[in-house]
């Protein structure tokens, strides 16, 4: 269960220039829910994602995940929380272009220091699930956008996180690849993962497996 209570987030651009990204937001997301956060650019969708992922702290209010107040976690504990609970899918994939598919997927496992057999087993499993196993040793920069997206999804899932966060996941994909991404989402949903997607892509509107669509406008839930 994810709870955002009276969240306000203000970005200090300069001493006299402050941007209120979120204002008094209250939101509860149940375990296994798939939520789509909709809204124009700058509405505050990505800020909500970064707060849930403990990438940033609110200016006031609370972010509670599974009863733990993650908005109060010191940085070193926030990193552990992210490592154990969150899988990220970014708009631009954020892969390391000079590493192979397998090496990119391995990255989230490195801090856990698993033995090579265990790590390999996990990597093979996610590569198969997201249909990228045939590119295992290919360097990521040589892959197509759709393939890079699948590597990013595989990397987000290799730790088996409870929460998947996707920020504009289809922004760099054509329609066919976007449809394929929706199939992957459906599969992730069937695994009972809590999924939060921030998007302004109309493709996500009215999908049968989406539990809720939440409209954000000027930092407020509409």
């Amino acid at each position: 269960m994810i709870k955002l209570k009276n969240i306000t987030k203000i970005y200090d651009v300069s001493k006299n220039d402050k941007v209120k990204a979120l204002e008094n937001v209250n939101l509860t997301i149940k375990e296994g829910e798939l939520i789509v956060l909709k809204g124009a650019s700058g509405s505050g969708k990505s800020t909500i994602l970064s707060l849930i992922a403990a990438l940033s702290k609110p200016s006031s209010g609370e972010v509670i995940v599974d009863g733990k107040q993650i908005s109060k976690l010191p940085d070193n504990f926030a990193s552990i929380y992210r490592r154990d609970n969150i899988g990220f899918i970014f708009q631009k994939y954020n892969l390391i272009p000079t590493l192979s598919v397998k090496e990119n997927i391995l990255l989230p496992l490195v801090p856990l220091n698993p033995d090579s057999e265990e790590a390999d087993e996990k990597i093979q499993e996610v590569m198969k699930r997201f249909h990228i196993e045939h590119k295992e040793d290919s360097v990521v920069r040589n892959l197509s956008g759709g393939e890079q997206q699948r590597v990013a999804i595989a990397r987000a899932n290799v730790n088996n996180p409870k929460i998947i966060i996707a920020d504009e996941p289809t922004a760099n994909l054509d329609e066919k690849l976007s449809q394929h991404f929706l199939e992957i989402l459906r599969e992730l949903k069937s695994l009972n993962k809590t999924i939060i997607i921030a998007t302004h892509d109309p493709l996500f509107i009215g999908l049968d497996f989406v539990d809720r669509e939440i409209e954000i406008h000027n930092g407020k839930i509409v």
Binding site: K5, K57, S60, K72, L73, P74
Partner: protein
């Protein structure tokens, strides 16, 4: 006024320390007065960010200041070559009225800064940061001591007159000296050695009894008794001279810089003993600190004891 590369280095570092310490002090006062971890207000989140900045500043100042103590002694020792009459750092300390006070405040700060670093380390290991208020409160006190040290250091080095003759350690550390140091020579050797080894045995006893408070207190007493024992008794065996009691000369090359090792062992052993008593860390962490303390203090006592034993074996007499 005396300017050597070492003194200039100390001045530049002190200026940097003072600048950043003032920033950390302002933040520490705010944190100490307003910290409430349970609060989710804007001001508390701001304080949490500021606490990270302040703690980082303090950590780096103290982490540099602690080993810099050895550099300070090294500087004094080097300065002794240019001061008429000085044979070692003792002469430089005595060259101005501020030297002794600076030395005392430096020793206090050494333990205080190292204690702060351990408190900070224990604090960031816990999700709920249990020592935040305590560590910033401690820094407020430490700030004044740090500033006092920096000012005294500046005043002391500025007041040294190279043309003025200073006393040598032989006259400063003797029973005939007119200063308060001569009082420690009133203690007779058997009593002093009983106190020294007795104190060490108490440390071991409290270690096995797992009484952390008494263990810490015995370590505090051990610092004082050790320093007196070095001056009155052990020093004479290091120098192999019954009249030479200086606690600085054995920092020099002639004695293979053994003083640095002895003082580092004494500081390390007693420091870990003190924090084992006064920081509420986990049982595992406390046991580790106690073990380090016992190990360092044991090496210290053995090393120090070897000097009279070897002297006796070589010469067949005690000094």
């Amino acid at each position: 006024m005396i300017f050597t590369p070492e003194v200039l280095t100390i001045f530049i570092l002190n200026f940097i320390f003072a600048f950043f310490a003032i920033i950390a002090f302002v933040l520490s006062v705010k944190i100490f007065l307003k910290w409430d971890l349970n609060s989710t207000t804007q001001s508390q989140y701001k304080l949490e960010k500021q606490s990270y900045l302040a703690a980082t500043i303090i950590k780096y100042i103290f982490a540099i200041k602690v080993p810099l103590f050895l550099f300070f002694i090294f500087t004094l020792d080097k300065l002794s070559h240019v001061l008429t009459g000085a044979m070692c750092a003792a002469g430089v300390v005595d060259a101005t009225p501020y030297g002794t006070y600076l030395f005392i405040i430096k020793i206090i700060n050494l333990y205080l800064f190292a204690y702060w670093l351990m408190l900070h380390s224990a604090d960031i290991k816990e999700e709920n940061q249990p020592y935040t208020k305590q560590k910033f409160g401690l820094f407020i006190i430490a700030f004044f001591l740090l500033m006092a040290e920096l000012i005294l250091e500046g005043v002391m080095f500025s007041s040294i007159d190279v043309d003025k003759m200073v006393s040598c350690c032989g006259s400063l550390y003797s029973s005939s000296a007119t200063s308060y140091i001569s009082n420690i020579f009133l203690i007779d050797t058997p009593t002093l050695l009983t106190l020294f080894y007795g104190n060490f045995l108490f440390i071991i006893l409290f270690y096995f009894l797992k009484n952390r408070y008494l263990f810490a207190i015995s370590n505090i007493i051990f610092i004082i008794i050790s320093l007196i024992s070095i001056i009155v008794f052990f020093g004479t065996y290091i120098y192999e001279l019954p009249t030479h009691h200086c606690p600085f000369c054995f920092l020099q090359k002639d004695y293979h810089y053994i003083g640095y090792l002895l003082y580092a062992l004494l500081f390390g052993g007693t420091f870990y003993g003190i924090i084992a008593g006064f920081i509420n860390s986990s049982q595992k962490e406390r046991a580790k600190n106690c073990k380090i303390s016992i190990l360092l203090s044991s090496v210290y006592v053995i090393l120090l004891s070897l000097y009279p034993i070897i002297y006796f074996i070589k010469n067949g007499v005690w000094l």
